[in-house]
Symmetry: none
Subunit: 221 residues, 4 copies
Amino acid sequence: MSSGETTKARLLEAAGEEFAAKGYEKASIRKICDRVNANCAAVNYHFGSKEQLYVEAVLEAHRCGTEMLPESAFQEGTPAQQLRRYIHHFLGHVLAISHENTWHQALMLREMIQPTPASEVLVREAIRPRFERLVGILRGVCPEAEPRKLSALAFSVVGQCLHYRVARSISERLVGAELYETLDLDFLTDHITSFCLAALGLAPPLNLAGEAVVNDPVSIR
Amino acid sequence: MSSGETTKARLLEAAGEEFAAKGYEKASIRKICDRVNANCAAVNYHFGSKEQLYVEAVLEAHRCGTEMLPESAFQEGTPAQQLRRYIHHFLGHVLAISHENTWHQALMLREMIQPTPASEVLVREAIRPRFERLVGILRGVCPEAEPRKLSALAFSVVGQCLHYRVARSISERLVGAELYETLDLDFLTDHITSFCLAALGLAPPLNLAGEAVVNDPVSIR
Amino acid sequence: MSSGETTKARLLEAAGEEFAAKGYEKASIRKICDRVNANCAAVNYHFGSKEQLYVEAVLEAHRCGTEMLPESAFQEGTPAQQLRRYIHHFLGHVLAISHENTWHQALMLREMIQPTPASEVLVREAIRPRFERLVGILRGVCPEAEPRKLSALAFSVVGQCLHYRVARSISERLVGAELYETLDLDFLTDHITSFCLAALGLAPPLNLAGEAVVNDPVSIR
Amino acid sequence: MSSGETTKARLLEAAGEEFAAKGYEKASIRKICDRVNANCAAVNYHFGSKEQLYVEAVLEAHRCGTEMLPESAFQEGTPAQQLRRYIHHFLGHVLAISHENTWHQALMLREMIQPTPASEVLVREAIRPRFERLVGILRGVCPEAEPRKLSALAFSVVGQCLHYRVARSISERLVGAELYETLDLDFLTDHITSFCLAALGLAPPLNLAGEAVVNDPVSIR
DNA sequence: AATGAATGAGCCTTCATTCAT
DNA sequence: GATGAATGAAGGCTCATTCAT
């Protein structure tokens, strides 16, 4: 009615925005329907239930989020370059403030942090492939690392990135809004990449000034 | 009545568990009251409203969480040792699976991820002091680092630790429950500490096997 | 469903009766819904809130009260005849004991005495037109009277009539139920009309027996 | 505590103000107790129930209202002078805007309009004596009038006065706040007194300008 | 003499859902 | 294909009241 899209498509879009902004509990199907001038029974008619609507929204988020993925761009160059590209790409999503038209990443991240039954599909189709790609890059750097070590390494990379979404508002209050604003995509890509590469021995340590005191890792306990 | 504690205290305990387990929205004051055999008006009598009960629960969580803090134990030893102690301590909270009696950490972390008005007090009284301590440790390692860099370093440490709470269930499905179980407190303390110390030049890089190819950090873009 | 009317219409009817009988505060939407075998959420569905239901009931009262208005019947005959007709008509409403089917006047009078936000519409659409008509009649009698005097005259007429609603039960107890019953529509119409006409010089004073001692109005203070 | 008065006396005072301002339903005993720093159980302790507190407040209102009554001042002078004094005195109460310390009249008038069980005592001890006094004055003017006629006359006097309390806010909106303000105690005393005296043949009709066309009261029907 | 604690009934409202059309 | 009407459950909250101290 208000656009050329079908009611179902417009419902899905509105639902995505609401769920991304408020979370599953606080989002109300009535408001979602109101936003697209649909009857409050429309959700149950088209999707069966609120829960199924949510699942569809999460899958739609994944679908849209994947389309723009530069498929094999991560396999070119040195591992270090690949890692930088990966971090840059991931951080781009993490730092994107969710506009009305960019709820996709917000919803997927929400699902990572607070998984619902919808996450099973999400893990299988969206998260796992990307995680495997990161593990692949890291395996290129540490060919002999056991799976457990590789996983921990990958989590270290992901955790650093994700933190800027997870604890955004707390962090902002912690360091002040002024400083926090300077932590933009470029700066953080540089920082996290350098941090990881240094840890992996692919770049000099961040503490350039200090005399590199290489302690025995065991003795410091 | 049914126990030695006062009704108010029992309400606070039950509320903490409910809020930690279900979040603010899904938790119901009726169920909280039922759990301690109190009337559903008891919350409003003792705390004024659901929201104030939540704030009280968060503060209580902080209070109990702080009691076991080894005040100045972080200032002894080398910076590397201090950092390891910090990570060990932090991870201890993060990995603690919330039993009925350990809702405190779960609630605080929930508040970090989805801050409510209650977070202001939490930041001021619990999070900021701990964050400043970490920054202090890092400043000991990198005396000349600008505040922005110090913040980013601190976030890198915290982000790696917090990830095991934030994305716990997703991660578990990602690497398999079997492997995930081996990522226990000791292993992760070792891993994250080594990772950070290496990045800071206080320990050898994790990639012991590989020939330490130190690239120019700029050329890898 | 249980009758030919729609649920919304039946709700409005029941609400009118309840509000008229108990007032806004004491009336409960649950009881209103029960009376028409509707779910307690029906009011919110059809009217949005208790307050809006009340406003609708007041407007409905006005609507039904106006339908039976003999439009321009007040403009025929002498001013004295017009005034008598006005008083007769007004008293007719005032004295009507509110059965279940005559809650309309009761509700409007309640709103006059204890105005709520709903009264704004009521004044504009129901009370003011009638008041202006009375002022018009009085202006026909006293063409040179200033607006203030005209208003006071109108209030004198209205006040005498309204008193039999406002202070009904107190008055009844004051003079005894037996005597009070004889104060019916005809008697009171005669009385108030004569009283006003005499005061305005359009009829002989009520005190027919007494020798008309016309004092200087100032000297009696 | 806050003053030398007993808690019970302070409760009664606060209750009077609340009841006068909000009515029985909307007034809450909790707020009444809060205002005098008493426990919310104090009302039930001192008065037994909310209803009994209300009755006590009404009686207290009557008590305080009567003290300042110029007992026999109404029996001096001519009936016209007596009537003027009566109207002046009554209007004085009616027009008094209820301050915190003048809730007595407001509460009594409220009880006149919406009687509760408390009104029985009020009628017997406060309203009836005053009403009888007015009837006495009117009997002095119309010695031969039957009781019914005397009652109607008295109601005409009272009704005109009371209207400025009953329909105050509606009237104000009807004629405009500016004009309504000029309807002060002096003007209204003059107006109503003149109106009544003229109707009773004790003063010239208000319509001085018009030629006194005395119609046959029957022919105007 | 007075109170803090606790209660149970009731309030209005919101919710996701169902059903007949 | 889609909707307006209606529902039952549950929500948080306020109330006057009670009871043991």
